[in-house]
């Protein structure tokens, strides 16, 4: 197929027809979003993030970051100690890795199967003058998310079914028309936002006989209005977190929603997966932030006729949009709460003698209800993984570091091989922050912890935004690695962490894996429990069918997390990866209820992406 975009001129200077906004963000409110129509111009096809940003390992353990996008040290040096440790756990000598094989810059075009096109639908699109493409690369880019398995499959061109066409609507109205057309022509639509899902949530059903359209919302990237008096902002669903926050920042506002994927993920994606931001303690999760949603379904638009801050009018149907994962319709516009930018933002970090005391500390923070905007606790292994990317030490610096460690172990009885590491962000007015900080620091002391400075705290948060890049370099090095998360009541946090680690270790042993690491962190501190994140990596050298092995182990780990009081996911969602746990998690009655909703809102199964529940369960449901 030719790679031209169809109908490019059609929608270029169309006006937004909505007039009910109070305050233009800009005089010419049409700002260009940071994600181009052709994602491949900016983003990697074989991994996470920007094309220009890579982590490169060179001789003697030097790490380079190839762009200035992240305010991290550009060159870092793996210390001898870290080198030995990594050698021990991963079986990789970071001083000896050179010329790591890397996937080519651009994917091999010849590997893409041709599209299956429905002429009636194509005619319809042309009439509607909506931009679309049938180019292989465009389709390929929207055939997968960012789960490790997705990336591995993409790298090996193992994705058997691509969307047949990509369409870029510009507005709610465009979406309504596309959905109508699809419903009429019996076409499948898979909504695509930032493409950062880690649940295989955009994977096409290889047995789908109908034409599949990937509906890319990236061009629906406008702030429609900002209402400073009522502290709300209305956006098109395709706007990325980064674009939204940048524009709000200029106005002195923020949504406060800050997921790790902020640069790429879209507001629509947040809503459809029930996303969570790291500063939820102050601002709330997405379900707390959402005021209004416009949701285009195959049978009509679902939205509330109210702008009030709350409504008691029977069941809140926003709740079936939140977490619908593209299976019921397309989110086109979202109205979110905003806040004034905080007067002060302060980072902090603490070390604790071990993970257990760290957990007890975070628990006590929750008990006393003094959560900072964000509070995270890394276990020892994760903390040490973070040390891989550390600036090269001068001789003096090294001595100072050593002295610090000696002081730590002598005064605070904290040793490097056991300690856990907490990072925090405080936000608010100066006095508010000061009081909060004092309270936290007191509690830190109570649990035998010691403050480790603001710089380390900030670094801790920055590192999270590079985790995707680190994952990719791991893949290049032959390490399979990915994360999974869960949420769990307080009394079981520690045990869940221990159990999941034990199970991963035991399963790995059974599968004969020699080099692996599993570490965790507590990333959200609720009153009633916590969100726990696990990172599991193993050296795949010599492992037969490594991806399957990975998934089997992860599956066992998730079984264990659920068995000991956790759940299927805190914020990643279900997608197609975790469907098997859903009936047990929400009860078969709930599956039946979901199926009934699905049948009502989407009688022709236009939104045929098979997320949340297995298709067989929908068919067999009696509701």
């Amino acid at each position: 197929m030719d790679s031209e975009l169809h109908g490019l001129n059609a929608g270029s200077d169309r006006e937004c027809e909505r007039l009910d906004y109070f305050d233009d963000v800009e005089n010419n409110r049409k700002s260009s979003g940071s994600i181009p129509l052709k994602r491949q111009e900016l983003l990697k096809w074989h991994g996470w993030g920007y094309k220009d940003t890579k982590v490169i390992v060179t001789q003697r353990g030097k790490l380079f970051i190839t762009s200035n996008r992240y305010p991290l040290v550009k060159i870092s040096q793996v210390s001898q100690k870290v080198r030995e440790w990594i050698q021990q756990v991963w079986g990789i000598d970071l001083y000896e890795v050179e010329n790591i094989p890397e996937p080519p810059e651009n994917p091999e075009i010849s590997n893409f199967p041709g599209p299956f096109l429905d002429s009636e639908f194509l005619d319809g699109l042309l009439t509607l003058q909506i931009v679309y493409s049938t180019d292989g690369e465009d389709r390929f880019f929207r055939s997968h998310g960012q789960a490790m398995s997705d990336i591995m499959n993409a790298r090996q061109y193992q994705i058997t079914r691509l969307p047949d066409l990509v369409v870029w609507p510009n507005s709610h109205e465009d979406v309504v028309k596309i959905v109508d057309l699809s419903n009429k022509c019996n076409i499948v639509i898979i909504p695509f936002g930032g493409g950062t899902n880690v649940t295989s949530a955009v994977t096409c059903n290889p047995n789908e006989t109908r034409m599949i359209v990937s509906l890319d919302t990236s061009q629906m990237n406008q702030i429609l209005w900002l209402d400073k008096r009522n502290l709300t902002v209305c956006v098109q669903s395709g706007i990325t977190g980064q674009d939204l926050e940048e524009q709000l920042f200029r106005e002195g506002f923020t949504t406060g929603h800050d997921p790790d994927s902020l640069e790429f993920s879209s507001v629509g994606g947040w809503v459809s997966t029930r996303a969570s931001g790291m500063k939820k303690n102050r601002y709330g999760n997405i379900e707390d932030l959402v005021v209004h949603i416009r949701f285009v379904t195959a049978v009509g638009v679902l939205e509330k006729e109210s702008r009030g801050p709350r409504i008691s009018c029977g069941i809140d149907f926003n709740q079936i949009i939140l977490g619908s994962e593209g299976t019921l319709g397309v989110i086109t516009e979202v109205c979110l709460k905003v806040r004034h930018l905080p007067q002060l933002q302060v980072y902090a970090s603490f070390v604790f003698p071990d993970f257990e005391t760290g957990v007890k500390f975070t628990h006590d923070v929750a008990m006393k209800n003094i959560q900072p905007a964000s509070l995270r606790l890394m276990d020892n292994m994760q903390f040490r993984m973070g040390l891989i990317m550390k600036e090269e030490q001068t001789f003096i610096g090294e001595i100072v570091d050593k002295l610090k460690l000696i002081a730590l172990s002598a005064i605070a009885n904290i040793n490097e091989d056991e300690m856990s590491f907490a990072v925090a962000v405080f936000e608010g007015f100066k006095d508010e922050v000061a009081i909060n900080k004092v309270k936290i620091e007191k509690l830190v002391v109570k649990y035998g912890g010691v403050s480790a400075g603001a710089k380390n705290g900030e670094r801790g948060y920055l590192l999270t935004s590079t985790i995707g890049y680190m994952r990719d370099i791991c893949l290049n090095l032959g390490m399979l690695s990915d994360s999974f998360e869960t949420s769990v009541p307080w009394d079981r946090v520690l045990q869940l962490c221990q159990n999941v680690k034990s199970v991963v270790a035991e399963e790995s042993k059974e599968k004969g894996l020699k080099h692996l690491s599993v570490c965790c962190r507590v990333t959200q501190v609720y009153d009633t429990g916590a969100c726990v994140y696990f990172y599991f990596a193993f050296n795949a050298a010599g492992v037969v069918d490594a991806l399957r092995v990975y998934e089997q182990i992860e599956s066992r780990a998730r079984d264990e997390a659920i068995a000991c009081g956790g759940n299927i996911s805190h914020h990643h969602g279900v997608g197609q990866k975790r469907r098997k746990w859903v009936p047990r998690q929400i009860s078969p009655t709930a599956v039946g209820l979901y199926s009934a909703i699905k049948k009502t809102l989407d009688p022709n199964n236009v939104f045929a992406v098979q997320n949340i529940v297995l298709p067989a369960e929908i068919t067999s449901s009696k509701l």
Binding site: P489, R492, Q495, Q498, S502, V503, A505, E560, I562, R584
Partner: protein
């Protein structure tokens, strides 16, 4: 070292019959689970993988002072001090809840008093494992063991297997329990192989022994009161203590699933209390899995053999005391042969249970877990499986086989026909091959004759071989102090009954070591015989009889209901191969006896003391007038009296029927069969007959007994003359 007095008692409160029913219901499903999770070990077991750990390169002093770097039990394990463990128990949510919310408010006891009491309980309970003590103790033990044992043989293949399964999950060691030595041996072996030393649940009786309690504490024992009835605080403290050991996973936990030392050398029916407590952290999702390792410890000669004999006959056991221990040191002058230790295939509880855990059922951790019927079924199953694994991995000494042959001879042959060495060897050889076909590993390192002579030599205080090759049983009873009748636990038996009884019961101790091999085949062949006598021989008819006997003996042997059919089919196959049953018949639904009538006779004869004892128990219970009740003790006493009369009048000649353990099992068995009704009045347990059912059972048991009653009867006096050689003067 008896471990769990009260937990077992509490667990036994649930009716066993009911348990078995539940187990039967879940059987097919569990069989499925088992097939996938507990594969039987690859090849047959062989003696060559056993290594004598006393036979080592380094001298004892170097050995005990070696660098101690044991393999960690779990990933997150951290060594805690005794005080820290106590603190962890005290600050646990469950303990807090029990004291603050339950005990204090319900009983209006001040909290402070309860906290103090808890602290005292924990100090009384707590272990204080310290390596220097362990090392010195290890040194002394080495010296003692070298003196009295000719070797402590450990299956090194099983050690390798154990090592491979340690590292991620808490571990429970469950050794068989035949002797006080078990407890010391386990730690000794772990020390030798650099396996983290176990923390061991022990009975409280040792604490009072001056010095010994402390020594055991320092070697890793923690102490549980033998009975604590309804003491909720003690119960909570005890279960929390066990559970903190499991969840922290720093040491393996060791306890004896049989609950106490088996005086009979047969496995005792497993106790579920401590096991349930220990599994709770798994069931409530606090640990991801628990590795259970059944362990068999086989002794050539049991240290306590004489003591057990007296105890079973009702002569009271001396209270554990340090001076008693020193008196017992004269055991050091004797030889006790070899010990064989085998760590059986580790069991993953998670796999065994098929993961029943569900957050839906989860309650906050401060509330006690309520065991679901499903869980309880599986716990019973697991407990039985553990004991069976212990049995399967026994090493049988030749003396045990000799004991079978000698007992059979004594019971069936005329008095003037003595057993000579030649006959004994021949019969042991044939029994050995039969036992091997039932899966036994027999300790026979040399040619049979030499090995047998060695084995007999170890037991020279019980069996003597005269110069002309006559094998005879020695009178051991005479050497003991006279027994005060007032102290007898059961019926006060006559002196002459004890004279024959003690050596016969001692001999039976070694016969019993083989019974787990023979019990199912014995039941099957007796069932076949009776079925044929009654003119049937149809498989279904045999199975019904087999089922009856199996139920009857289920308190005596490990005969878990769920294995009923499997065991039946297996036994038939084995018996056919051995020629006890006829293989050639074409009709697969019909069974008949084969040519090997000698083995058939021996097998059936093995059931004699049990059937005789049970039959007398039936009679005793039948004589309880309607509307009246008896206590267990009364029932035992009058049954023993009845049996003694039978022995004196030569209507019975096997003294093992007098065993109080056997008779207790009989009463329990009659109770679960509904022939006897158990009532609780004012905290006392009383029994009354259920006439119709009891009459039925009595009749059937009597019929079976008729079949196995020996061909040639001898009075007790005759028997005494036959058995006892040296001690004649004292008779």
């Amino acid at each position: 070292m008896g471990s769990n007095g009260s937990p077992s008692q509490i667990a036994e409160g649930t009716e066993q019959a009911e348990d078995r029913q539940k187990a039967a219901n879940a059987a097919p499903q569990l069989q499925e689970v088992l097939r996938h999770t507990c594969p039987s070990p690859a090849g047959p077991r062989v003696l060559s993988t056993f290594r004598n750990i006393l036979d080592r390169d380094s001298c004892d002093l170097v050995w005990v002072t070696k660098e101690w770097r044991p393999q960690q039990v779990t990933l997150h394990a951290r060594t805690r001090t005794t005080a820290k463990i106590r603190q962890d128990v005290i600050s646990s949510p469950k303990m807090q809840h029990t004291i603050e919310q339950q005990l204090s408010s319900q009983n209006e006891v001040p909290k402070e008093a309860l906290w103090r009491e808890l602290n005292d309980i924990l100090i009384e309970m707590g272990h204080t494992q310290t390596m220097p003590v362990v090392r010195w103790f290890g040194y002394v033990l080495s010296k003692i063991m070298r003196k009295i044992y000719s070797g402590v043989f450990v299956n090194e293949e099983s050690i390798a297997r154990l090592r491979a399964s340690i590292g991620n999950n808490p571990v429970i060691f469950m050794p068989s329990h035949r002797s006080y030595a078990d407890f010391l041996l386990m730690s000794y072996v772990c020390f030798h192989y650099n396996i983290m030393l176990p923390v061991i649940a022990a009975g409280m009786d040792f604490v009072s022994m001056w010095g010994v309690g402390r020594l055991l504490r320092d070697s890793g024992a923690f102490f549980i009161r033998r009975s604590f009835g309804n003491d909720k605080l003690y119960w909570a403290a005890f279960s929390e203590y066990v559970q903190t050991l499991i969840t922290a996973g720093e040491n393996p936990i060791e306890f004896f699933v049989e609950g106490t030392r088996s005086r009979t050398a047969k496995s005792l029916c497993p106790k579920l209390g401590l096991l349930s407590v220990a599994l709770e952290p798994y069931l409530t999702g606090q640990v991801s899995d628990i590795v259970v390792v059944p362990i068999n410890i086989s002794y050539d000669r049991t240290l306590e053999e004489t003591l057990y004999s007296y105890e079973l006959l009702g002569v009271p056991k001396p209270k554990e005391s340090t001076s008693g221990l020193f008196k017992a040191l004269n055991v050091l002058d004797e030889q006790y042969g070899r010990i064989h230790i085998d760590f059986t295939e580790p069991i993953s509880v998670n796999k065994f249970f098929g993961d029943l855990r569900s957050p839906k059922l989860m309650r906050p951790l401060h509330l006690p877990h309520q065991i679901t019927p499903d869980e309880s079924t599986r716990i019973i199953w697991l407990a039985n499986y553990v004991v069976r694994q212990q049995q399967k991995n026994a090493v049988i000494s030749l003396f045990s086989l000799a004991a079978v042959v000698i007992t059979h001879h004594v019971l069936t042959k005329p008095r003037n026909q003595l057993l000579n060495m030649h006959q004994l060897t021949r019969q042991v050889a044939s029994l050995k091959s039969a036992a091997e076909s039932f899966g036994a590993l027999i300790d026979c390192r040399d040619n049979l004759e030499v090995s047998l002579q060695d084995a007999l030599h170890i037991h020279k205080s019980l069996i003597v071989t005269s110069k002309d090759g006559q094998v005879q049983v020695k009178n051991v009873a005479a050497a003991q102090a006279p027994v005060d009748p007032a102290k007898m636990k059961g019926h006060s038996l006559q002196d002459k009954t004890l004279q024959v009884g003690v050596p016969m019961v001692m001999l039976q101790h070694y016969v019993n070591q083989t019974l787990h091999l023979f019990i199912c085949p014995a039941i099957v062949s007796l069932s076949v015989q009776q079925s044929i006598n009654q003119g049937s021989g149809m498989k279904a008819n045999v199975f019904a009889k087999y089922q009856f006997l199996r139920t009857l003996l289920s308190h005596e042997f490990i005969l878990h209901k769920a294995w009923e059919t499997m065991d039946f089919e297996q036994s038939i196959q084995q018996l056919q191969k051995l020629g006890v049953l006829d293989e050639s018949l074409h009709d697969s639904m019909k069974l008949s006896l084969g040519s090997n009538s000698h083995l058939q006779q021996i097998l059936c004869q093995l059931l004699l003391p049990f059937l005789a004892g049970y039959s007398s128990a039936c009679s005793t219970m039948s004589e309880v007038p309607a509307g009246k009740t008896v206590s267990l003790n009364e029932a035992l006493k009058s049954t023993q009296a009845r049996l003694e009369k039978l022995l004196l009048s030569a209507q019975l000649n096997h003294h093992y029927s007098l065993s109080l353990d056997l008779l207790t099992a009989a009463v329990n068995s009659l109770t679960s069969m509904g022939a006897v009704i158990k009532n609780k009045e004012n905290g006392k347990v009383l029994y009354s007959p259920n006439s119709n059912r009891l009459r039925q059972v009595t009749q059937i048991v009597g019929d079976f007994l008729q079949l196995v009653a020996p061909i040639c009867r001898k009075s007790q006096d005759e028997q005494a003359r036959l058995l006892i050689t040296r001690a004649k003067a004292r008779l």
